[in-house]
């Protein structure tokens, strides 16, 4: 995949990973960014023309100070699609990205050819409180997000050498930017009342869930399926919340229907 630079009508310059061929699909990453997702995105290119924007506040993409609330986030998603010249497009996303994709689909249902929601954030169930990722110690994140914590630790640190002070500061600052931005729609409770807008969804929808998701456990998958009745449900074994990184084959297979002719 290659990086392309786009500037939205609002004036935010963002990088977008682009690759593959076929019907267009926008993929929105989670609060951990593109970290660990490149193998998945490469495989996704086998079934669609993939556009994976880097969200403001992540990596080299700035402008996050212009996005303050859920509507800003949702409009930014469509601004990116506009800047890429995508009128009708399949939307997919993971966790926070799936929450944004669902909001985009509720706002402009006619532009959405298919909706792939991978372990989406955005709902809250009182009986199943979501663990607080904003108070989770870095060393505890792999165990929360991955079925296999050892694999998770390797993916999340991305080979950073934490004995180097410069690397540590960079990681710390990057993490503060990423989660600081994500916090605008996820803190302190990841619920911006998306559920009352989901009635507007019309496109075929696929829900993908890791069977061992400890962040959004099975009760959330069930609730999403109730709220999005026309959906296809895929439960991926031996995978946690980071299911696209943990089981890219299964996730890509689940999304294939959304871009089939």
């Amino acid at each position: 995949m290659d990086w392309e630079q786009v500037t939205t009508a609002r004036g935010i310059a963002s990088r977008v990973l682009v690759g593959g061929s076929g019907q267009p699909m926008l993929f929105l990453h989670s609060a951990t960014g593109h970290t660990g997702m490149l193998p998945f995105l490469d495989q996704l290119c086998g079934i669609a023309r993939v556009y994976a924007p880097e969200w403001p506040g992540f990596g080299e993409s700035g402008g996050e100070e212009q996005l303050e609330d859920m509507l800003d986030f949702t409009l930014h998603g469509w601004d990116i699609a506009d800047a890429l010249g995508l009128e009708r497009v399949a939307l997919s996303g993971h966790s926070m990205g799936a929450m944004i994709a669902a909001e985009m689909a509720c706002l402009c249902p006619d532009r959405v050819t298919g909706l792939g929601l991978i372990a989406p954030a955005g709902l809250w169930l009182d009986d199943h409180p979501v663990p607080d990722i904003f108070a989770t110690l870095p060393q505890e994140l792999p165990g929360l997000l991955f079925a296999d914590p050892a694999q998770g630790a390797a993916v999340l640190t991305g080979g950073t050498d934490f004995s180097s002070d410069t690397a540590l500061t960079e990681f710390f600052v990057g993490n503060a930017r990423r989660l600081g931005t994500a916090g605008k729609i996820l803190f302190p409770i990841p619920n911006r009342r998306l559920s009352k807008r989901l009635y507007r969804l019309r496109a075929r929808t696929t829900l993908v869930w890791g069977e061992e998701d400890r962040l959004y456990p099975a009760a959330y998958a069930k609730r999403w399926a109730e709220l999005v009745p026309a959906s296809q449900d895929v439960l991926v074994p031996r995978a946690g919340h980071m299911v696209p990184a943990e089981a890219p084959d299964a996730v890509v297979a689940a999304l294939a229907e959304l871009v089939s002719p």
């Binding site: 303050e68 904003f134 500061t169 600052v173 503060a176 930017r177 600081g180 605008k184 803190f187 302190p188």
Partner: protein, 421 residues
């Protein structure tokens, strides 16, 4: 020099094994540890101590705001301050302060501070902290990366509410009010002096200098570690072309006075260690919500200082370490005087928040230390800054003919019954 007697109001009944049995003293502290019956006596003991400090000649008495916190029992410092305003007539009442981004709408702060200023006869020092991440984000749910923006808006709203004579509409991002018209208004004009308690965010320094607010560095790291941050502040003061009045700066310091250095250790060491070992046992996941600090702050040297401070394991420090590192100034009146002078000059400050009650320190020791400080230390430190004598820009300006507690109807009745005011 100005000395403000401060009580954080810790819960003194945390068990010896608190650290191993509980993950945090703050945010999700075990609610079963609080006993309201003991709390009843405790509030009165602590408020009595604050009144005592007024009676022995401290310039101010201070309270602050924390939430869900085992070492700070004042979610609403204004309630304590209201009690003090009724029972004292001399000391400044330093509310350091109200976390203005947490009040909805923040005109509530303009109102309550005005009430305190009026009740106290113009003795209020008004503190506007951003608030710690524990209080602001984790306890009160504010979005970390928007907290400072919300704070800035609240600050603008309160200042306008205090100073504009006509009702006005306020079209803010976080507050929309059609009629802002605060009744009562404060005695002090244009408003009480404003203190900004900071923990080391670089933006706060410029904000203080540009608005002529006092910057109060509150930490338990002591004056030797604190120098690095205050040096940063004074550099900004100079860079922005403001004068170098020491009254622009304040510092909070734990102080323990006894007859001799050895007696100080014998009397206070267990209580100071209780504070450092149990009261500061905060789950690291609550220390700094991502987005709470600006990227600029994280990238500057401030980060280095903060990380250094975080690495120091308070729980492993002995009394000797705490005294040597300057976390605690303790000893005979002469030892304390010397080290206070070193601190005051080193940090270039005109106001000290004197933390004279520590952890589970009993009342008699607190009064003993307070009295010795007032009688034998304070007088010798009054004139550290002769060239700035009379600089009262950051001090309160009370009514000369304000009421004494004994002058009130209730006070007179109690005096007649021999109960005392």
């Amino acid at each position: 020099m100005k000395f403000v007697w401060f009580n954080l109001m810790p819960w003194p009944y945390l068990d010896d094994d608190f650290r191993s049995q509980h993950r945090s003293v703050w945010v999700d502290i075990d609610r079963r540890l609080y006993d309201p019956v003991k709390g009843h006596a405790l509030y009165h003991e602590y408020m009595d101590q604050l009144e005592y400090a007024d009676s022995v000649g401290f310039d101010g008495i201070g309270v602050n705001e924390h939430h869900q916190n085992g070492y700070g029992l004042m979610p609403s410092p204004n309630i304590i301050a209201a009690g003090l305003a009724r029972r004292t007539s001399q000391a400044a009442i330093a509310v350091i302060g109200n976390s203005i981004a947490l009040y909805n709408p923040p005109v509530r702060v303009a109102e309550e501070f005005a009430m305190l200023d009026v009740i106290s006869g113009g003795r209020l020092l008004a503190g506007f902290p951003v608030g710690t991440s524990m209080d602001t984000n984790y306890c009160y749910g504010q979005i970390p990366s928007l907290t400072r923006d919300k704070y800035a808006e609240a600050h603008e709203l309160i200042l306008r509410a205090w100073t504009e004579e006509e009702p006005f509409a306020f079209d803010g991002k976080y507050n929309q009010l059609r009629y802002v018209n605060v009744w009562p208004k404060p005695i002090q004009t244009p408003h009480p002096p404003i203190y900004i308690p900071g923990g080391g965010s670089v933006e706060t320094w410029d904000f203080c200098v540009e608005n002529n607010y006092n910057y109060s560095y509150l930490s338990f790291g002591g004056y030797i570690a604190g120098k690095r941050l205050l040096d940063g502040y004074w550099e900004r003061v100079a860079a922005l072309g403001a004068d170098e009045s020491p009254y622009r700066g304040a510092f909070a310091q734990i102080i323990c006075v006894a007859d001799t250095d050895a007696e100080a250790e014998r009397l206070y060491s267990e209580h100071v260690l209780y504070f450092y070992n149990r009261c500061l046992h905060v789950y690291p996941g609550f220390a700094d919500a991502p987005g709470y600090r600006t990227i600029k702050t994280l990238q500057t040297g401030a980060l280095g200082a903060l990380r250094e401070a975080a690495r120091r394991r308070f729980s492993e420090l002995s009394w000797g370490d705490l005294v040597e590192n300057g976390n605690v100034i303790a000893g005979s009146p002469e030892t304390v005087r010397q080290r206070m002078e070193e601190m005051i000059k080193g940090l270039h400050i005109g106001t000290v928040f004197c933390l004279m009650h520590n952890g589970n320190q009993p009342d008699w020791k607190t009064r003993y230390s307070t009295q010795l400080f007032a009688e034998k230390v304070m007088p010798k430190l009054r004139d550290v800054w002769p060239e700035w004598a009379g600089d009262d820009r950051w001090w309160c300006h009370p009514l000369p003919d304000r009421l004494d507690p004994l002058d009130t109807v209730g006070g007179k009745a109690r005096a007649e019954q021999g109960v005392g005011a």
